[in-house]
Amino acid sequence: MLARIAQIEQEALNALENAETEEQLERWRIAHLGRSSPLMKVFESMHALSKDERPSVGRRANEVKSALESAFAARREALQQAALRRSLQRERLDVTLPGRPLAHGRLHPVTRTLRQIIRIFASMGFQVYQSREVETDEFNFQLLNFPPHHPAREMQDSYYVDTGEARGDNPVLLRTHTSPGQIHAMREFAAQNPMHPPPVRIVLPGMCYRYEQVSARYEVQFTQVEGLAIGENVTFGDLKGTIADFARCLFGESVRTRFRASHFPFTEPSAEVDFECFLCRGEGCGVCKYTGWLEIMGCGMVHPVVLSNGGYDPRRYSGFAFGMGPERLAMLVYGIQDIRYFWTNDLRFLEQF
């Protein structure tokens, strides 16, 4: 009987070698471990054995049963692994094919640049102040110390608004700079406490207009950001320090600034500010036209006439103002050759940001 069991085991294990699929495996299980399998027959015929034979045959048959069961499990596991291996080998993607494109939005480059400027000044306590675009000559020029026929007006040719009625020497126009907002802001703040007006620290962003032939360098409309700080102890040195801080935030820690004397009717002293070229670090390159410097802004100490017009006594208060063009800054930083790109909104331009 024991020989018979050994034979059953051997035959079953041999047959298991040939089981290659799930069905064959299942058929093998029925044939070799099922109710009518030879091994089960052995169990069934146990009762016919002698008392002496029974334990050893029984033990042996149970051993074979569990051996076959684990051989079955191992075989099944091996087949599953092989099947997985085959399918993993089949399932291959071309990882170089493009991904599914997402339609995502972007801010206009002028918005980006404006925000960058405003963010830096906000960290120094300058708050955004906005004012109207359609202005009077009084606010755009006269209160800012541009008397009628002043030579500096030549640099700011204006669009005048047809109001259908004579307004004498105070015509309506499209503001040529955001500076009228300086007067609006100063008057608004001074009204809070005329005897002791509060300090001012604001930035004035917005659209401005000049009567220019459109070209790669000039546009009929452009944005501007001005800054204004007024107090009892605001100096030209503070102006230099504030602008130098701004330059470092914008172009990096080591960037130098250069102040050149200049002239604006609403500031005195006035200066043009050059920043060291962000690309060549002052060595000279195409961006800075080999000068090492980039002309970024105009600035100066607020003219006494402007302080007075805003309600701040120039004998007691002083202040500085500065102004720059986000488009020009963006043109320098991104190497944009033509200012008309900003308002024509070719998506091939906008989508590069």
């Binding site: 801010l107 206009h108 359609v134 102890n233 002293p269 200066a271």
Partner: protein, 853 residues
Amino acid sequence: MKVPVSWLKEYVEITLTIEELARRLTLAGLEVEELRYVGLPMPASRLEPTGGAHARQETKISGLEWARDKIVVAAVLEVMPHPNADRLVLCRLDDGSQEHVVLTGAPNLFPYKGIGKLEQPLKVPYAREGARIFDGHQPGQVLTTLKRAKIRGVESYSMICSEKELGISEDHEGIIILDDDAPLGMPLADYMGDVVLDIAITPNIARAASILGVAREVAALCGTPLHPPSYDFLAEGAPIEGRAFIQIQNAELNPRFVLGLIEGVQIAPSPYWVQRRLRLAGMRPINNIVDATNYVMLEVGEPLHAFDYDALQKRANGHPPTIITRTAKRNERLITLDNVTRVLDDFTVLVCDTAGPLSIAGVMGGAETEVHAGTRNVLLEGAAWNFINIRRTIAAQNMSSEAAYRFSRGVHPAMAARGVARCLELMRQWSGGKVAQGLVDAYPLPPEDPIVEFHTTDVRRWLGIDLRADEVAEILQRLEFKVEVEGDLLRAKTPDHRLDIGTGVIGMADLMEEIARIYGYERIPETRLADELPPQRVNLRHEVEEHLRDLLVDLGLQEVMTYRLTAPEREARLLPGEVEMDEAEYVRLANPIAIDRRVMRRNLLAALLEVAERNARQETRLALFEIGPVYVPSKGFELPQEPLRLAILMGGGRVLPFWQGATDGHLDFYDLKGVVEALFRSLHIEGIAYQAAEHPTYHPGMCARLLIDARELGWMGVLHPSVQAKWDVPDFPLLAAELDAELLLEVIPPRFNLVPIPAYPPVREDLALILDAQVEAGRVAEVIRQAGGRLLVGVQLFDVYQGEPIESGKKSLAYRLTYQAEDRTLTDEEVAKIRQRIVQRAEQEFGAKLRAV
């Protein structure tokens, strides 16, 4: 202002290199825009203008260097005919070391042709073989190197040069004939090499629109002494007294008028060095008399005018002339030197005599009394004019001149007598005339040169530097202010050559600028604002506007910024059919630069559609937005309103092109509505009503009016096909929305509350209703919510169906309903009751039937 350095050096010693000088002037507000080398050695990096790596160059540089061994002063000994060419001559020439025969076609040598050896050899600039000069026959400045060649059978290897060939001017009419005292054989660069500084003069430094004015700045910046020219003249003629008279009618417009007289002049070309200086300064030499007036204008800044004295006497019937200055009569006429008949305004000041107008004061002379070749006696005018009035005149007449350039920026009346005196002496030297003794000087309104008082504490408070009173005084004295010091008080009197210093606190600021400029902006230390920080506030409007931009970008839209100037007919394209917009509805420009940009926009959508047109060729999908103002005229004297608007334009493929093909169709109304709803949801705005309504811009059946609290927030819809046909855009449906951003900002709730995450599980079930196709889904959802009460927390429409097996004229709306209680799990019985209520209400309201599933 073009300043030849050789001329500048007459009045101030220059110890700096030219480039350092240019840098210092630029930092002090006299921006040197260009350095033009005319002979002197150029900075090394620019020797080869065409090739090699650029070096750093703070000032733009151009010009030509004259090699010292190749370009020299030579003497033409004889001018001989060319054997084979009538239009060429051969010059026998001594270059200081040997004789050469040089070929030239210069017309100004032809008078000497064939007359034998010249008694007085002609001094000329001579370029030897190998010299690099500009090609005289090509336009502009093209470098060329002199090489040996045969021209009409005669060997040529060198050249006598014109001004163009040496880079002095554009003049190539003939060769340069130098003054007789030019030293033979001397390198030309040593004799007359130069550099011209081209300086931009801002309005506040009008006083520096002269060589002397620039020299004064150089002297102040470098701390070196200034040597102004002498204003003495040698007067050997009879006194001027009684030989010319002046009448000034309006001293405000003409504060001073000065006359001088020189008799027996010989009109001739000026010495070459004068001609060269004028040319380098950008003026054309005419003759010794006119050149003297221009020379002095360039030198000291006082424009002058020379009259033919005999012509004036003739007009006065042989009497001594009386010069009258007065304003023109309205529509009075005058023919000016440029041969234009000028119709004058009543504010224009004229210089007249008893016979009529002679010139437009300070701007341009008239033809009749001009100096000409036969002029013998010259009456010289130096005057002072109101600069504002000169500005008005040149603006009204649209004319310009070197004189008007200076007078329109302000010339101090003190300069009038100085200019006349200086000019009489130069005329005497250059023309051989005799100067009449004395001047006729009418000076009814001498300006008060302001005296400004301030303290050193003002310097501290304005500039942030601590200077002692004597240091401040020293700076101002360098600029010729007279300064008194009392402790820390300074009293500065303005010198009588400038008009830009005010009085009181304005004068104080004017002086601060001068102190800062001369002290040096670069020496003022950078400090951080130490002043009190103003109360910090939030600019909510600005922040919310920026938040809107971020939200729309997050929703996949591209921001655009468009022109705010447009034309009514451009916006009329938003309406179907032939429409004419009422221009009175617009803010109109009085001086538009182009007819299609003559008004301020009233609308953002037209601009977005223009962007769509521009991108039509490239884009298969558009999703754009703009936030910005529109401009609405107000009544009467009020300025226009500038309300903020928000517009969206979408269209094209719902998904971007992808290699798997299978696109998902075009964007439609509900894509746009999804964006709009998401925007409101992000802003926590609730209660927006979408009302089916008609608007001429939109498809009548695909348009919604947006309301909040019965106020109109805007419109959205599919563009009307007849409107879309007016635009050169792709033919997919375009979806647009326009919102009143002012109202939007107003209705954004300042805060919102979160609801807790439920602790008990929800019950979800689907419900499909069959009802009339016209019933609006919005109303159905509202009824379901009402009927469901507070335990119905979610009503989501997931299917809208029309067609078999649904009866025609009906539709099926399928909802997923979510029921939930905060405090327990709802039982099936509770849910069934609510559901029953919903079905009943739907039946009552709409005749809805439950759809069998």
